[in-house]
Amino acid sequence: MIGDMRRHIWCRTLIASVALTALVAPFTGYGPARAHHSFAMFDQNKEVTLKGTVASFAWGNPHVYLRLDGKGQTGAAVQYVFEGGSVNMLTRYGWKPGSVKAGDAVTVVYHPLRNGDPGGALKSVQIRSGQVLKTW
């Protein structure tokens, strides 16, 4: 069962990675893509996957922000705040200002905040079309 789940996750990750690579390659090229501040507030060794409903999506610089209504570890409703890259970076990764809208059901992958607050650095979002968009 666990093996099946792992395989499923692995396959999904592989498919997502291939889709992501195909999507991202024409945009990233060789250009540096880095945030304007240290990432030390996030746990870069940990990646968390979370499903939820978009409360708001703010398209702007120096970061885009995604607020997501999801569930905490106890099952209680929690609003998470995720910080993504800047508009120029996201545009290169194939994002549009309207890629994510309030009310959308999405799956996000993120590096959690090290202080335990609900949120983190957004790595990617699987948007309503099923497309996976990278943010860093």
Binding site: P32, H37, A40, P62, Q79, W136
Partner: protein, 260 residues
């Protein structure tokens, strides 16, 4: 009367001859290969200094290990880096100019964290940085102003000239509080850049920083760039941020629910 008319004619014909000479001279100059190369376009750092996840998420570091500073500046700079590293390890990064969206100035703009666009117009080379929508102007064959004539600024005053196919740019009058990787410098700091074309779409910028008050020897490093024919530089102003600078100088992210 005759002599005056003759004088006028003579003067007129002399002027005409001079004008013809100028045109001929001008043509022969333009017939010669103009110095320099085409720098117009959008350029990205090459090779990309930020390609792995560790590099993307890690803190940027001064090129080539940083400069050879005199004491006590060397110890002070190392202590500053150690403090920053310790804060980051503790998950509480210290605020920096970039977090505050402060213009990068010289020479950091040339580090092209995001693409830079170079425009060549008569007498001018203009560098437009995508990050923070920055503008740096290089005036060709312009005299360097004295300290009495020019107040220190973010990009300082840059004068350039072509030496064959190398564009040599000298920059002075950079504000001492505009620091490249927090390296201290004096108002007398001089930055010399040598731009050379390597292939039609790659150039190198050999940077040399001289500042005898602070540096034991010139600080040298090279930035390489590759032209991106397709990319359109975007506007970038900081207008939305949930980052909060705490009283102790650390940065955290605000996660309070939106009430809008």
């Amino acid at each position: 009367m005759v002599s005056r008319a003759h004088h006028c004619w003579a003067r007129g014909s002399s002027a005409a001859i001079i004008a013809v000479c100028w045109v001929v001279a001008g043509l022969s100059v333009s017939a010669r290969a103009a110095p320099g190369f085409d720098m117009n376009g959008v350029w990205e750092r090459y090779p990309n200094p930020v390609s792995t996840d560790d590099e993307v998420f890690g803190d940027l570091k001064a090129p080539d290990g940083g400069p050879d500073l005199r004491e006590p500046y060397a110890s002070q700079w190392k202590a500053l880096l150690a403090k920053r590293e310790a804060a980051s390890k503790a998950g509480k990064p210290l605020v920096d100019d970039s977090t505050k969206c402060r213009p990068e100035g010289m020479p950091l703009i040339m580090g092209a964290i995001f693409p830079i666009e170079i425009l060549q117009t008569p007498g001018r080379v203009t560098v437009l940085g995508e990050f923070l929508t920055q503008t740096r102007r290089i005036f060709l064959d312009a005299p360097m102003p004295t300290a009495d004539d020019y107040a220190p600024s973010y990009y300082g005053f840059s004068t350039g000239h072509w030496d064959g196919n190398t564009l040599i740019v000298t920059t002075k009058h950079v504000r001492p509080d505009v620091q490249f990787f927090e390296i201290p410098h004096s108002e007398a700091m001089t930055i010399t850049e040598r731009f050379r074309q390597l292939t039609p779409d790659t150039i190198e910028n050999k940077v040399e920083i001289n500042d005898p008050t602070y540096l034991k020897q010139p600080y040298r490093f090279t930035f390489g760039y590759k032209r991106n024919h397709d990319y359109r530089v975007m506007e970038y102003f900081c207008d939305k941020s949930s980052d909060v600078v705490e009283e102790d100088g650390t940065v955290s992210m605000k996660v309070k629910p939106d009430h809008h």
